[in-house]
Symmetry: C2
Subunit: 512 residues, 2 copies
């Protein structure tokens, strides 16, 4: 192994935001596109998204939800029907006004004034309105309910400050939209989707989250209740990684989604919507990344194992490659997480140490380095990326007989998956502090504190002006309320804001 120390130029503790950008760039996940606020998702980043998508889609289908595809464009008039909704989104939408270009007489192009649209079109920031219009056509009777749809799509929200994966003008997501006969059915679906997201985040992404309800000021525009999963990043900030909304009958009134009940009376549907996006990839990076780059949980890694033959550009290489190809075949015959193991044999020319470093930065779960001596002795040299803290640390390589490794490969991957989860959960739990007074909140988030975590407080769920006062108090400390956890012990004691008896717990944090 080489003595050269490969390293990122930024450590997490020095500048977390810069480290994040560097990981994305060094792991070749994404880059600026040159188009304002939009990124290019490169093969390694997109490969992770594809694995996430496949697994999430399986969960969505298993719940009986049908995938559909709805238009990218939404007429202004559809959008204007739901007052709160439009208020929430009007500030950040891309507006199509023309359908043709024309020469400007100087060799350039301009929108053709003759081709101005009668009604401008919005590039969807979310699809409640256009899907609501479809639902109003599809639903006639109680027999048509529940109606369960989902789409995988791109959406656009014009953002002034963008950050790759976390906040981009265009992003990729899935949005579930369902209609039900009553509140009960809709609430059940809202919470089913939330639980699906919680389990997906913790299982597939190995990212511990807290599932709970958002305070009313953080609700989706037009929703009656909004639920989220919240993850803690390694800088202590919260990331909302998925949301599920109970929309009541507001969108049904706006779009005319009605059904005839079993007694023959017309009723409005209760609707829900729920979504997760490429933002989760940002969460994955900031949960599992280390000072050597990304660490990808094996369940969503495009390659779970990379085999690196130590090629020497000599005739012996042929034998070494044959040995590695044998190993690759044996490994893809193994199954991990219910799927064939994904293995890449990296035959590219180049220095072995540089190639290793490229895979370390990308966070491939298992790297196998195979030299001529390994091949002759029927051995492999294995590096578990979850344990690697130093590129030069030979100690992290484990030598094993080839057959032993093949037999334990799936087990290693499963171990890495849970080790990443346990590590992240331990980190997060250690950074959640219970407080009983607002003074403790202020102390916890003292200005000189680097990377504070979250506080868990109790509150009386104030509303109106009282809530507004809380929001302002927190805002002064750059804090927001994240959610009130669904699975929490019963609460006793007083609200840290009002002094009245508390009714529930709430997490308070800085957030992305």
């Amino acid at each position: 192994m080489s003595a050269i120390r490969h390293a990122l130029s930024t450590k997490r503790e020095d500048d977390f935001a810069l480290w994040y950008q560097e990981v994305i760039s060094e792991a070749e996940m994404a880059e600026e596109s040159g188009v304002r606020g939009c990124m290019v998702i490169k093969p390694w980043g997109y490969g992770i998204w594809e694995r996430m998508q496949r697994r999430m889609d399986d969960r969505i289908k298993a719940a009986g939800v049908d995938n559909c595809y709805f238009p990218l464009f939404i007429p202004l008039s559809y959008f204007a029907k739901e007052a709160e909704h439009v208020e929430g989104f009007a500030k950040e939408m891309a507006v199509v006004t023309h359908h043709r270009l024309i020469g400007d007489g100087e060799g350039g192009l301009v929108p053709d004034p003759e081709a101005k649209l009668e009604e401008p079109l919005i590039v969807r920031p979310t699809s409640e309105t256009v899907i609501g219009a479809a639902m109003s056509r599809w639903i006639q009777s109680w027999r048509d309910l529940p109606l369960l749809t989902n789409q995988w799509a791109n959406v656009v929200r014009w953002e002034m400050r963008t950050r790759m994966f976390l906040r981009t003008s265009e992003f990729l997501w899935q949005e579930g939209h369902t209609a039900h006969a009553d509140r009960e059915g809709a609430m059940e679906e809202t919470l089913r989707a939330l639980e699906m997201y919680r389990d997906f985040a913790e299982t597939e992404l190995a990212m511990p989250v807290i599932a709970g309800e958002k305070p009313e000021n953080e609700r989706f525009p037009g929703a009656v209740a909004t639920y989220s999963i919240e993850a803690m990043m390694q800088d202590g900030k919260a990331l909302q990684a998925g949301t599920s909304h109970y929309l009541g009958t507001g969108f049904a009134h706006a779009a005319g989604i009605q059904y005839q009940d079993s007694e023959g009376a017309q009723q409005y549907c209760h609707t829900t919507s729920w979504g997760t996006s490429t933002r989760m990839i940002g969460g994955l990076i900031m949960t599992h990344g280390d000072d050597d780059g990304l660490r990808v949980p094996p369940m969503v890694a495009p390659h779970q194992i990379v085999i690196l033959p130590m090629l020497r550009d000599k005739p012996e290489d042929a034998e070494l490659l044959a040995y590695c190809e044998d190993l690759r075949k044996a490994l893809v015959g193994q199954s991990a997480f219910g799927e064939p193991v994904r293995v890449l044999l990296d035959k590219r020319p180049g220095k072995a140490t540089q190639k290793r470093w490229s895979w370390v930065k990308k966070g491939v779960p298992l790297i196998l380095e195979i030299g001529g001596r390994d091949a002759a002795g029927g051995q492999v040299s294995m590096l578990r990326r979850d344990k690697l803290w130093n590129d030069a640390a030979k100690a992290n390589f484990v030598g094993l007989p080839k057959d032993d490794f093949v037999n334990r490969a799936a087990g290693e991957l499963e171990e890495i998956q849970s080790a990443l989860f346990e590590e992240a959960k331990a980190k997060r739990d250690a950074e959640i502090t219970r407080v009983s007074t607002f003074a403790e909140v202020e102390a916890y988030f003292a200005p000189d504190k680097r990377y504070p975590g979250w506080v868990e407080a109790k509150w009386a769920r104030p509303t109106g002006d009282e809530l507004e006062a809380v929001i302002q108090k927190l805002k002064a400390l750059k804090l927001t309320m994240r959610n009130t956890p669904l699975e929490a012990e019963p609460v006793s004691g007083d609200c840290i804001f009002t002094g009245r008896p508390a009714v529930e717990r709430i997490y308070i944090a800085r957030a992305y």
Copy 2:
């Protein structure tokens, strides 16, 4: 079985265009969205697309092409760099000019004049320009070549006349974009993609196609050579179902895609692009549909087998359902086309004949009707949709012992797949007529001829004014040249247009 005759209201021979619309509606594949030129793809249509997508994606990945994702928006300046390209697309693009809405003072919304973009953005009609900009960043040396990328995305081309799946303002597709060191490499890739499309169309979609080069007037804007696969619809018209373009160095010059060759000299890359879209679903309908609706090739059917228990709303139903559930489990344990068989047990309430009709219209390859007597006798009653020509025809049901059916289910599906292909191929081949003179073309496409097929002619590949004259002559007969087939016998004889010695064959047809 019921004596009620379920039927579509339009037959293919009476009005093919109306029949097409009715199949889409009755099979619940798609519908108008209320947004100009955009459709809603419903679960059955989207399910077919998902199967197509999965299989095409496997082929793309197997060819070593990496999926990426590029921005929806393209700055006007990017687009204007390739002169022919912009000429070809400028007439039909959606233009984003504002990024915010504002109240109009009368309760409505208008684009905010304060939020006008400095440079308008085009909603991508295709991505050569924005991917070219990325390639220019990614490629430095010959070692980076070939660069093989693909994306699955939505694109927008403003269409005045739209037709579901065939021509919609927004559609879904995959677009492959590759860069190579030289012409040979790029041509090889162009033809590899074309052959992938040919094989996909004929294997997965059971749709016979002719792979060939488009005449120069039909080239993609900016391409040096365009190749297509052309399918014949049941009304005799041609449908271009996929294209592959050799772009030469034009886009590389426009975007600055350069590499250093092994001698250290700067060279421009040779690029390609290739795409298939939801348009193929239109081709599938018009290739395999019959007067009872759609027939879906089993390889891309969301459900390959539907089990219909003849429920009677009586206690005996439980036993019947248990029998059907057993059958379902046995079937999903079988494998067809290398994947587990996809089976739906349709437990919905409702009349069995109506439920059967709904699946007949949707074109599920195999329908199993199971009554109490079948269950008691360990039998199934099987309907092969490819053979059904009349909903009331009992003769098409075949009674079989359950275990026999389970064992032959995959075989039946494979037989249906090839039967659909053979049927379509026989129909197409019968409708291709070889002609030796232009007078024969005129006679073949006589105005009173209903649903004429194609003619295969020989030509000398005229260019310039001579080609223009050919185009006009054909246009008068509403005809276009489709392609010059790659796999054709050597040609002898004279060009039907110029009388000079012919150099190749060419297909001439009416087209979608």
